[in-house]
Amino acid sequence: MATAEAPVRLSLRAGRRSQAARSALLQIELRRNAMVWIAPVTIVLFYFTTFRPVMALPALWGLRTLAMQTDALIAFGPFVAGAAAWMGSREGRRDTAEMVAGTARARWSAQLVTWGATTLWALASFAVCVAAVYIATAIQASWGAAEWWPAAVDAAWIVALSAVGFAAGAMFPSRFAAPLAALITAVALEIAFRAELPLVPLDPLHPALRFSPYSLALPTIGLPLIPFDAGIYYPFLPDLSIVQTMLGAGLAAVAIGGLGLREIARRGARRLVATALALTLAGIAASLAAVILAGGAIPDEHGMIEIPALHYSADDHPYSYTPACNAAAIPVCVHPAFRGELPGLARMLRPVARDLAGLPGVPVRVDLDASANNQLAVATGTHCQHTRNGVECHSSALVAGYGAGTVSGTPPTLHFAFDLESIAGGTLDDAAVQNFAQATIGGRGDTARAAIAGALIHDAGIPLGMDDFALIAPALAVARRFSELPAASQRAWIRFHWSALRAGEITLAQLP
């Protein structure tokens, strides 16, 4: 027993010693790594190029994290690749290759420690930046949970860029290794960003976008391609993120494994060569699989990208939610993710609701739902929106570029579909009050009603002439005059003449 145990114990001791030695080497490499002083540069760049623009977006998890995915990589990628190439070329630049070659530890093993330290620093500084985005979003977001896939994609690609840069520096330890690694990365990311964008954006004549598998498998997602409602009404589809992570991990494995294959020329241990070979082959397989899977990508009806081979059908079911409503004369209800818009909406609607609440035909409630327009909807002239029951599409005329509002149900409720871009652009409130006025008072083809509607919208803060009722000069003057009346007088007049106004029996001259 003792004899059989002895080799095991020796092997365990050797293993632990090897682990301790690696750990000690790693500590030295961590202390003396170029990424130590490059990390603050990347953090500062991240603040300007990623954190600030991402924070300017609505506090929606899917939108912010997907936007962060591209911007963070453009801030980090070149510097990580450059620093890694700098560290990889260290032995060549410093003439220590001979000394290292004469030591017992395999050169690839020593290089792995150096690369590991570089990558750890890169990931640590990235983690600090990501944490800032996630914490800020967690504080501001009113619905949903953090989407971690974009951060995972970025982490995989930081590892990949570090690996490729390191391998390039180790194989070509020239003075140009680090700058070329950095700038080829910058140019490649920029081209990938460009190549991702559809050549014919949202052209109704070309409803089916053609996705290039190469560009999709890359981690750079152009902002126009990011669906604003990612993860709000339907689960965030991780299909594309999985593929992008696979490609990043595959490239990292190929780069590091390829570096290890040089042990063949150095007559290295068979186990080491086998490990390097296995890593390289696994990396090639993962990368090819990623591109092949991306080639099967299709846009789903919610604007996210689905990869059938990876798709999980449970992701097709909408999230159930209880709308968030404000307490007002005419309450506004939105998806909880947009709860932050309620104060602004209430403020804009207050003057209009004050004058119209309780009148026959006036909605007792406003339900705002996000537009779900996709390629097919645009191509067929329909209009789709998210509701608690899923996506509903119907034909309706657009109201001056905003979604159409329809009044339905008993008691009447105004359903208004808004474009999510209006949140980012700060035009949601304007759109809501204009839609409300159009749906309740109307005004197309009736200058009297248009003048009243324009006056009420003006009370809400939208300048006359900037509304969508195309008021001509006489109606404009009347609207201004009506708007200058005291609120009580406005209310009294509207209530007295409501039925006639709605029936189109009031002329412009009859308005006060």
């Binding site: 090897s18 000690a24 003396r32």
Partner: protein, 266 residues
Amino acid sequence: MSIETAVAHGYPEPRPLPSATNIDAGGLTRRFGRTEAVAGVDLCAGPGVLGLLGPNGAGKTSLLRMLATVIPPSSGRLQLLERDPRIHAERREIRRRLGYLPQNLGYYPGFTVIEFVEYFALLKEMAPARVPAAVAAAVERVDLGGKARARLRTLSGGMLRRVGIAQAIVNDPQLLLLDEPTAGLDPEQRIAFRALLRELGESATVLVSTHLVEDVGAACGRVALMESGRIVFHGTPAELVARGDQGAGDAPLERGYSAVLAGARA
């Protein structure tokens, strides 16, 4: 000059070779393209200090690099520490017991002295528990204790050379290969270094390649002289001195050196 006279002048007395053979090379050859840098070297060495002399381009560095297992021989037989460096596992064992200081010393400017020596101690797979004490001892042995925490970029050329020696001896090597180890050292440091060599040579095989014949005379028990890739002399310093009757030079060893070279070239 006779051997007896040489010994009377202070050169080490010839001693028979010890029994352990740490270097056993036969017909060792190394070619770089069409150039034969090492052309059939036979060399046996056990514990002790062996000086390797020769003019520029004689093949000393190439021989040292083969002994350090950095490059493989093109042909010939080579056993180091009674192991075959062609077999990976044995080569690894050799390297654990090897110390090597190349002619062009590279270093990492941002590392401290301790870190640099520690780095190589770990690369040589020393037991981690032994490393701190071994590093401290190595740094003290080269008299850099006061600069242990200094960054390498702040050191003079001579100090850097001593750092290189420290990393070579940190693992108490059984085979120590030093290429121009005293380049840049001041006379006092060279004297101390020779004493260190003698001390190390009591239990290890130390091979010192140098142009400084006085280092060889002071520290080496045996001398090998290379010319055009071959060893043209292998003996004691006293024996080399004894060959120097017709040689050029200011010192007996120089005369012996030049005489042997002249004979080899004739």
